[in-house]
Subunit: 429 residues, 2 copies
């Protein structure tokens, strides 16, 4: 086993301009100068992926082939190129002795063998070949890896879904873990840590010092866009501590760790965070025949189209007919409509499809919730006091979510944040 | 040997917007519907490469590594993705029976093995593996290939230099030539053919119906930016007729063919075209020691840095000291300055470097020139009559070039076009 490795992941805003890219270059070389062996994973420059997605959907509203991935993966290619050029330029400026004439080397997904399945635009990493990485690390060269992208068995470029660069970083850390004594992972973003809720929605939001993988997963899946949920899952599986921190401010951020490494304070808190997920679309299917295979048929068709269904609610059967409701993100709405219309033609001729867009999901999360009954009741009461209607409710062991009118998101988050005592929470930061 | 193949190359303006990309998609499918087996080669959307180059040079004024190529190759990746998505969308709209569920497949340089050397940003194609291409063609799928890019032995992405997509297209045509009975190559651009001079500089410019590879090469190297010179060279070598035409207007364009296939009319014309190359920088090196190895040392260092030196003039030696002048394009000016300063420090301590930017090269070209003495004299006279000073002169068998003040380019081109009778040339169009 050789020394330790520090994987540093820089998100879109952290490489969002030439100045930011030059700052990343200085930061990486400073880390190296302190004796760290650094591996970088970078996202596309902020706004770039949106620009590419918009181009693609102008050509085809429901882009269906691997070329969609090929197209949007180009954003990370640009930032890999720029960050690498910036590190090399900065290293020359500092007069560093450069192994192989370079301080950094840019590597795309297919160049280091980030092998994924073929579920385009939502691919999952199967394996990473670390041989090229290790060679560069041993030479003292900083590998600059394109996040978000991989390659499938047939050599097609794949992408990992929104926020996929986090998963790339954790996967790289996990792959290197077998080869180096210690592997840490820093996630640089535009906020300085994980907050009790989104500070843009609630000015009284407070930074959390440590949070468990489990809570972070609930928060991630609920729209706290700090980390992609799969990256947290992967970090939990391999026990890789994540340090979420700001690329604009060197202060300590939030550590995402195993529950056992959590201090006492958090465990005693009933609700540790409030999350909001905008742009949800609710679908209600009426006149669904009440047969055992029906749910499998509907949700099977949706999952085949790689649509992530969130909340599912099924009403009690009346006269052999069911009503099924579920939500998907706005981005999947067109694809969902197509799948449902297809089902109507094929199997369910009487099906009535009601679509309601512009909703938001607000949730409260906390590991302490398991031992405190009545959290749900308190949540409904707090929303009712603010005159906010609840469209759908769903719960898990450590979270409760309500679907509401998207225009009332801010009011709901502030009411819940105050109501559950997060405004004045002690010992969190 | 199997039937025929039509390689269609679309330049930056031809894929410069969503509308243009959709028009390319319709055009390709229309060609296919007529029974053609089509292979597409596409450039980056117009402006995109400039945007990427500007980003790179902001990070590093003289980008030195393969990451520069990795970065700027992303432009073609975007247009490959968009054109492929557009063809597939259009095919679905037309209700075509789609082999493998798709009408087109996007392919990057590394995915079809466009193998090049490692001279980054000016790489040369060594070989193309046609197996993937042939498989798609035989399936009835249209391959959409990224122009401008390849991959070297080590898996690094390389690019072929400005206009390199033309060369990609001709190289693909040449590679397929051994496998199919007939391979034609259409170059779609924003002009409807090759003109006697640049119509933006001279309103009396006229379209040429047929032109020889040789003349086209001289015109290409002289700044008529219709075709990259290496693509013409390659087309001549493999005898591939090029049809240069507009993607905005279906009229017949200009055929670039072997001299033997040229009609009579052109051969009788003394000067068949006037070219202008803007943004030239002239370097004058004074106090160069007059030793045999000196020229090799200077121009060797420049060519190692992959700088293309154009005109070279050497004065007669005076007291063991030489004066050497040469020109390079503005884009290579910073790199040239660095190389020359390096030489001064290393070998030539007395060297005086004089740099003069803002020049232009105007040239007259014609295969008929060889049998007509006095063309040079007439050119100097025409420029003198317009009060235009000549900085440098250089000649070949079928062209004469003069370096002049860049601000006088338009006047010079118009004077030469009229003076050599091109305004009223018969039988050209």
């Amino acid at each position: 086993m050789r020394s330790s490795i520090l994987v540093q992941k820089f998100g879109g805003t952290s490489v969002g301009s030439i100045e930011r890219i030059q700052s990343v270059a200085r930061w990486a070389l400073d880390s190296q100068a302190r004796g760290e062996r650094v591996v970088l994973v970078v996202s596309a420059m902020s706004g770039d992926t949106n620009r590419l997605v918009s181009l693609a959907t102008q050509v085809d509203p429901i882009p269906q082939s691997s070329e969609y991935d090929l197209l949007i993966a180009s954003g990370e290619q640009v930032s890999v190129g720029l960050v690498t050029l910036a590190i090399n330029a900065e290293a020359r400026k500092r007069g560093l002795a450069l192994p192989q004439g370079r301080a950094a080397r840019g590597l795309l997904g297919h160049q280091i063998g980030i092998l994924t399945d073929s579920v385009y635009s939502k691919a999952r990493i199967r394996a990473i070949d670390t041989s090229v990485l290790e060679r560069e690390i041993e030479r003292g060269v900083i590998p600059v890896i394109a996040g978000f992208q991989g390659v499938d068995d047939e050599g097609n470029i794949t992408t990992l879904g929104r926020g996929g660069s986090d998963t790339s970083a954790v996967a790289v850390a996990a792959a290197l873990r077998g080869r180096y004594e210690q592997v840490d992972c820093e996630i640089y973003t535009d906020v300085d840590g994980v907050y009790t809720t989104d500070p843009r929605l609630c000015p009284k939001a407070r930074k959390v010092a440590r949070i468990s993988y489990e809570e972070m997963m609930e928060l991630a899946s609920l729209g706290a866009k700090v980390l992609q949920i799969r990256s947290v899952e992967l970090a939990a599986k391999y026990g890789i501590p994540l340090h979420v921190r700001s690329s604009f401010d060197p202060v300590e951020g939030t550590w995402v760790v195993a529950k056992e490494q959590l201090g006492e304070s958090m465990e005693n808190v009933v609700v540790s965070g409030v999350a909001a997920d905008a742009a949800q679309v609710k679908w209600t299917l009426q006149n669904v025949p009440d047969q055992p295979s029906v749910a499998a048929r509907i949700f099977g068709a949706l999952s085949e189209a790689a649509i992530v269904v969130d909340v599912i609610v099924q009403d009690i059967s009346q006269q052999g007919q069911l009503t099924v409701s579920f939500t998907v993100g706005q981005a999947d709405a067109a694809k969902t409509r197509q799948v449902l219309e297809g089902l109507k033609t094929a199997d369910f001729r009487d099906l009535r499809i009601v679509e309601r867009a512009g909703l938001a999901k607000v949730s409260v999360v906390g590991v302490g919730m398991q031992n405190h009954p009545g959290v749900a009741t308190q949540m409904f009461k707090l929303l009712a006091q603010s005159d906010i209607n609840i469209e759908l409710i769903t719960t898990s062991e450590i979270k409760i979510s309500c679907l509401i009118d998207g225009n009332r998101t801010r009011d709901a988050v502030q009411a819940l944040h105050s109501g559950f005592g997060l405004d004045r929470l002690e010992g969190v930061v």
